[in-house]
Each structure stands twice: as structure tokens, then as C-alpha cells.
């Protein structure tokens, strides 16, 4: 029997003898759990915030490229409310931050216009040894930071001398115009760019990315990492799409940002 197996079995054989501290909960994967620990953070508990939101009535023009302001604002504030509740939960636990946050939108059977926005993550507390001499993990408003970084990315970020400030989102719900009969006939059997469509998709993405930029600026962040751009139609049909930019704003915690030289491996899995 190996040393590890022996030690593990000894512990499992008499768990009641083991000294019991407060149990933590987390929604981290095993990899993430271990890496967050190695970065110097202890998981405190699973935190969750949920907001059930009535999405308001939106007037639409059939043949115009336009942002649907009511829907954009709903998608932003629903998520924000869910994140605020999660952050509040984390504050109560005395956390320094929340890692591995996932934002989901669910449709339950309440009705067509009602969505549940859910933010779920793991509240963590920093060890004195995390991040060298850096102590000030909370945000400027003295609230726990939030981050959608996976455990792996979080580990690498801290090692590189940066700290997350907060999760930032930029949402834009956009209606791409339907093509009018004349356009359809004019381009029949031709290989051409559908300019109206291109322009619409362009504008929508730019608006979403512009908003995430503004949100990061408000947090006085140096930059945004792990930005993802999602495109969801939810239940609105093919011409109405939500463009969602989501990322983690970061700030430096020391002057130098060199990491140990990574070893090169050839992954055989």
C-alpha cells in the first residue's frame, strides 16, 4: 500500500476523531479548489444571488436596425441585481472576494417575459501569504471582489501580480432589420454582402464592448481579462439577439509582473 493510500484510509476510518472546523461549501471543480488554495485563498462557502425579473414591453420596428433599449437595460440590471445579492451574501461571510462566478439566465414557467438571473460563485478569504505584501483585496467600496475567472486563471493572475477588482458586463439587445422585398429581389442569385446585416451585427457588438469598457473604467481598473462575447437569442426569434460582453477587471498589486518560467509539456491525454 502506498503512503498516501495508507494515510487517507487511516483518516477515513475514524472521521469522528478528526477535529472539525466549520465546513465550507464551494462550487469549484477539484482542479480549481486546489489551485485557489495554492494561490493563498481559503474557500468560505457557496454564495448565490438570484433575481426574477419582469422584462418590460418593447416597441419594435420591423425593418430597422436598432438597439432595443428596454431589453438591453433589463438584461443588464437583472444580472447586476443578482450579482449584488451574491456580493451581499459574501460580505456577510466576511469574504475578501468571490471566484468562479457564473451568470445564468433561466426561463421558468412564470410567463414569457419573466427571467431568472442567477449569479453563483465561491466566496474566498485571503491568507496572509497570498499575493506577497498585498492586503487590500476588497474593492474601493470595501466590498468583496467578484471574478468570473476559473480557478486556473485566478491562480495565474495572482502569480503574475494582479488582483481582480470586479466582474464587468456590457449587454446590448439588438434588432437586425428584416430585409425588404426589393432588397431580396435585388440580390437574388448573387454572392453579395448583406450590408444591413453586417452593419447591425457590428453596431451591436461595438455597443456591448463599449459598455464593458465604461464599467471597467468606473472601477478604476487597469484592464479587463477573460472577456467573452456571447450571443444569445433567448426567446426573441432570429432577428433579435443579445450581445453580452463579460469579463473581469483587474488592477496591479505590485510593480513587477514576471512569473516563473513555465515548463513546456506535450499533453498526451
Amino acid at each position: 500500500m502506498t503512503e498516501i493510500a495508507e494515510a487517507a484510509l487511516r483518516q477515513l476510518d475514524d472521521l469522528r476523531r478528526a477535529k472539525a472546523g466549520p465546513a465550507f461549501t464551494s462550487d469549484l471543480s477539484v482542479d480549481e479548489f486546489l489551485l485557489v488554495g495554492e494561490a493563498g485563498f481559503q474557500p468560505l462557502g457557496l454564495v448565490v444571488g438570484s433575481s426574477i425579473y419582469q422584462v418590460g414591453y418593447q416597441v419594435k420596428m420591423w425593418n430597422e436596425n436598432t438597439e432595443l433599449g428596454v431589453l438591453s437595460r433589463a438584461m443588464t440590471s437583472g444580472r447586476q441585481l443578482a450579482m449584488d445579492k451574491m456580493q451581499f451574501d459574501a460580505t456577510r461571510l466576511g469574504a475578501d472576494g468571490v471566484v468562479g462566478v457564473r451568470l445564468n439566465v433561466f426561463r421558468h414557467e412564470f410567463g414569457h417575459d419573466i427571467a431568472e438571473f442567477v449569479a453563483i460563485g465561491t466566496a474566498v478569504k485571503a491568507d496572509p501569504r497570498a499575493g506577497g505584501r498585498w492586503r487590500n483585496w476588497r474593492t474601493n467600496a470595501a466590498r468583496p471582489f467578484t471574478s468570473n475567472l476559473s480557478g486556473q486563471d485566478f491562480y495565474a493572475l495572482i502569480k503574475a501580480g494582479y488582483a481582480p477588482v470586479g466582474m464587468v458586463i456590457g449587454a446590448c439587445v439588438y434588432q437586425i432589420a428584416h430585409r425588404q422585398l426589393g432588397d431580396v429581389i435585388g440580390t437574388l442569385r448573387q454572392n453579395v454582402e448583406l450590408e444591413k446585416f453586417t452593419r447591425g451585427l457590428y453596431d451591436a457588438r461595438e455597443l456591448a464592448m463599449g459598455r464593458i469598457q465604461t464599467a471597467a473604467k468606473k472601477l478604476a481598473a487597469e484592464g479587463i481579462v477573460a472577456m467573452e462575447l456571447h450571443q444569445n437569442s433567448h426567446t426573441w426569434g432570429s432577428h433579435t439577439t443579445e450581445f453580452l460582453a463579460i469579463g473581469t477587471a483587474i488592477k496591479p498589486i505590485r510593480g513587477t509582473h514576471e512569473i516563473e518560467r513555465p515548463a513546456v509539456v506535450l499533453d498526451l491525454s
Partner: protein, 296 residues
């Protein structure tokens, strides 16, 4: 060597006896998982399975918790008053069904002289003839030469995850579940906010309160379950939540109550060694992988 327990069905006993007689094990492990559990001193003992078909019904008559006064959320876990008790039996049945399936799987593991079961998949499926079938399927593993455990561990994580935990000084203890059912009377204001008549963007306060408290209570139930198993923490995957509405049962015609049910499943873990005290120290290293970028 342990005896094949008598309370298992005869076909299960026959299969277990055959595995023990032949020494040939079956497993659902991938090659990489197999290599991973071997690297921490364990070998597969055989496939372990447990199932239980339960009739899960709402027990007793339902009585709306809020006939008068301000509506509040009642969760089966946290509150012991009035309506909460109505859902108590339902929550207990949901726990018991899962636990029975897991216990039967553990009984097979014991029969195979295993120390624990890894890679456990927990499924719930409606059985066509009625009731819900709760299933647990995993691979029993053992450390050859190790003394049998009073109760084998169960782990819903893969063999690789099991090995990673072990190398870092953590051992899985048991699969733990947090279940909560919350109810809240749908008051007029909430009903209006959730109806098509409300035209602006707004949070539906009542439903939000219900969802938050039920999710939080499920997390708390999970933590209590971990304590019961003497674990010091838990790693989990996902939380499920669904809603259902039904007649309130008061004099008001058409009044509704909203129910939310949240379920979260995870693996309780315990620390068996000071970090990195075991050889070799299992500390992470930064690597640049030369594999395909989008391969997991």
C-alpha cells in the same frame, strides 16, 4: 474477506460472487482514470450499482402559510412552523431515495472488498409505470492490503480528480446532497408584477425572495449534510432549481402559492495530511501545453 450481503437482489449477489471468484473486475473507468487511481495506490474492485424506485408525492394536505399579513418564504429546511412541515415529508423522501440508492451501491462495494466508489453518477428518472427511479453507478476501488473501512467513501468525481485530491492531502468522504423546498403565497402585488399588465422593466420581488431563500437554504442543508459526515468541506458542481404553482387553498378564489425546489449535489472531503507533507510534494507548476488549444 467480507460476505456478500443478503439484502441485495440475488442477481446482484451472483454477479458479485463471480467477480470475487474470478478476480476479473469490470469498471467504467477510462484508461486515464485507471492510471490516475493506480498512481495513488488504488486498484479497481468492480462496478458498483444501486437503485431505488420511490413514489414521491406531496404528503398530507397543504395549508397556505400566509392567509393573512405579509407573505413570507417558508423553506422546509429552516422553518419548523406551519406550512414548512407540509413539505418536510417530501424533502425527507427525496433525501431517503437518494441515500437508499447510494447505500445499496456501497453494499456492493463492501461485497467487493472495496474501500470506496469513485466516478459515481447519480440519476433520477421517472419510471414509466409510476414513481421515480434513483440510481447510483460507480466503480469500486480498493487499496490492496489496506484494512476495510467501517464505511467506504463515495465520490461523484472522476478518477483523475480523486487522484489530484489525494496527492494534495484531501480524501473524499461521501456524496452529500442539499435539498430545499420553499413556498410563498403569491400576493396581489407579486401577481401584478409578474403579469403582462406590468409593462416596465422591474424585478419581481416576491419570486426573487423565494428563489434566493430556497437556494440559500439548499446550500445550508448541504453544509449540514457535510458536517453529519464529518467532512471539512465540499466540492460541488451545479444547483438545480425549478418552480411550480398550485392552489393556495384559502377562501380567495384563484389564489396561488408558488413553490421552488432546489437541489445541489457534491462530494464531502476531509484533510488527511498537512499540505505537501507527503512525498512527493504535489505542488502546481506552470506549464505551456503543446497540445491542441481547444482540447480539454
Amino acid at each position: 474477506m467480507s460476505q456478500v450481503p443478503q439484502d441485495l437482489p440475488s442477481t446482484a449477489r451472483a454477479r458479485l460472487a463471480e467477480i470475487k471468484a474470478s478476480g476479473t473486475w469490470g469498471s467504467a473507468l477510462s484508461t486515464a482514470e485507471f492510471a490516475a487511481i493506480r498512481s495513488v495506490g488504488f486498484v479497481p474492485a468492480g462496478q458498483a450499482f444501486g437503485a431505488a424506485v420511490f413514489s414521491i408525492r406531496n404528503a398530507g394536505t397543504y395549508d397556505c402559510p400566509t392567509r393573512y399579513g405579509r407573505p413570507a418564504v417558508h423553506t422546509a429546511g429552516s422553518s419548523s412552523r406551519s406550512a414548512a412541515n407540509t413539505f418536510g415529508p417530501l424533502v425527507r423522501a427525496l433525501y431517503q431515495a437518494r441515500q437508499t440508492a447510494i447505500d445499496r451501491m456501497v453494499a456492493e462495494c463492501v461485497a467487493l472488498d472495496g474501500h470506496g466508489v469513485v466516478g459515481v453518477r447519480l440519476d433520477v428518472e421517472p419510471f414509466p409505470a409510476g414513481g421515480l427511479e434513483f440510481r447510483a453507478l460507480g466503480t469500486a476501488i480498493k487499496a490492496p492490503g489496506g484494512p476495510p473501512l467501517r464505511r467506504p467513501f463515495t465520490c461523484e468525481r472522476s478518477g483523475q480528480d480523486f487522484a489530484k485530491l489525494m496527492l494534495a492531502g484531501w480524501a473524499p468522504v461521501a456524496i452529500v446532497v442539499g435539498i430545499s423546498i420553499g413556498v410563498r403565497h403569491v400576493d396581489d402585488w407579486t401577481a401584478f408584477q409578474a403579469s403582462a399588465a406590468a409593462r416596465g422593466n422591474a424585478e419581481v420581488g416576491g419570486h426573487t425572495e423565494l428563489a434566493n431563500q430556497t437556494r440559500r437554504d439548499a446550500t445550508e442543508q448541504l453544509r449540514l449534510h457535510v458536517r453529519k459526515h464529518h467532512g471539512s468541506g465540499v466540492v460541488t458542481r451545479e444547483m438545480e432549481l425549478w418552480f411550480e404553482d398550485f392552489e393556495c387553498g384559502t377562501e380567495q378564489k384563484g389564489a396561488k402559492d408558488q413553490m421552488a425546489q432546489a437541489t445541489i449535489v457534491g462530494t464531502a472531503i476531509t484533510r488527511f495530511g498537512p499540505k505537501q507533507a507527503l512525498s512527493p510534494p504535489a505542488s502546481s507548476q506552470l506549464v505551456l501545453s503543446l497540445g491542441d488549444r481547444d482540447r480539454p
